[in-house]
Symmetry: C2
Subunit: 149 residues, 2 copies
Amino acid sequence: MIKPYDDTYFMKRALQEAEAAYKNGEMPIGAVIVINNQIIARSHNLTETLNDVTAHAEMQAITAAANYLGGKYLIDCTLYVTIEPCQMCAGALYWSQISRIVYGARDEQRGCINLSTKLHPKTKMFGGVMAEDASQLLKRFFIEKRNLN
Amino acid sequence: MIKPYDDTYFMKRALQEAEAAYKNGEMPIGAVIVINNQIIARSHNLTETLNDVTAHAEMQAITAAANYLGGKYLIDCTLYVTIEPCQMCAGALYWSQISRIVYGARDEQRGCINLSTKLHPKTKMFGGVMAEDASQLLKRFFIEKRNLN
């Protein structure tokens, strides 16, 4: 059976957001939030544009999804994010009680896994979906940034 | 020598913010951010009003202070917050590279200390300033909430 709306499908949408960030000189990380196979929030990192360390893709997606749903808890929602969430974003996801988190590439240094950030007991997280695309885009960003400086 | 601008002075301002939250039916937590004895951001919890789990007092104070400073790093700034920051807020403070965090009462269950959230190496944190006032206000909020339900 063909399943058009699988994790790869939605991660591709998150990667499109990451590419939009890349084009704007932002660290290329993108996210979408999905409920019942419908995207209800899409966002990318805006920390440089907004001059705001809290403007990670996930934070904006959480705010936008809650706004769409008219309630602050993201029950039955899945967050797709191209890079493993940091402590701040995982902490926000804890409060949101989101059902699923799917990330692309790991962030060994600043990601929530190695830093042991606590997720909500209702939340399941797994990663590795299109990880190579996500990390290649990030590497491209850092190489370009180094060459500019 | 009289020191009008000490930690207690600024924590009182944070407590005024917490009281404003209380009056609006929000969990009463308040924060101010200070640089050179000047308050550059004041905020209180707005999670109910904004329907947004990310709208903690600290998150808004970080955004407002960065906006005031015109840069996203809060070097030489002190955050005063009435209750110990959670994982999300401590994670955001990590990114901000803030110099000092002063909290009032501990949050044993959901605070960043017991959950071992990583702070930036440039950040010093300590607590217990007007802790009794901060925790009494929170207790009053929960008792009232229980009685209403």
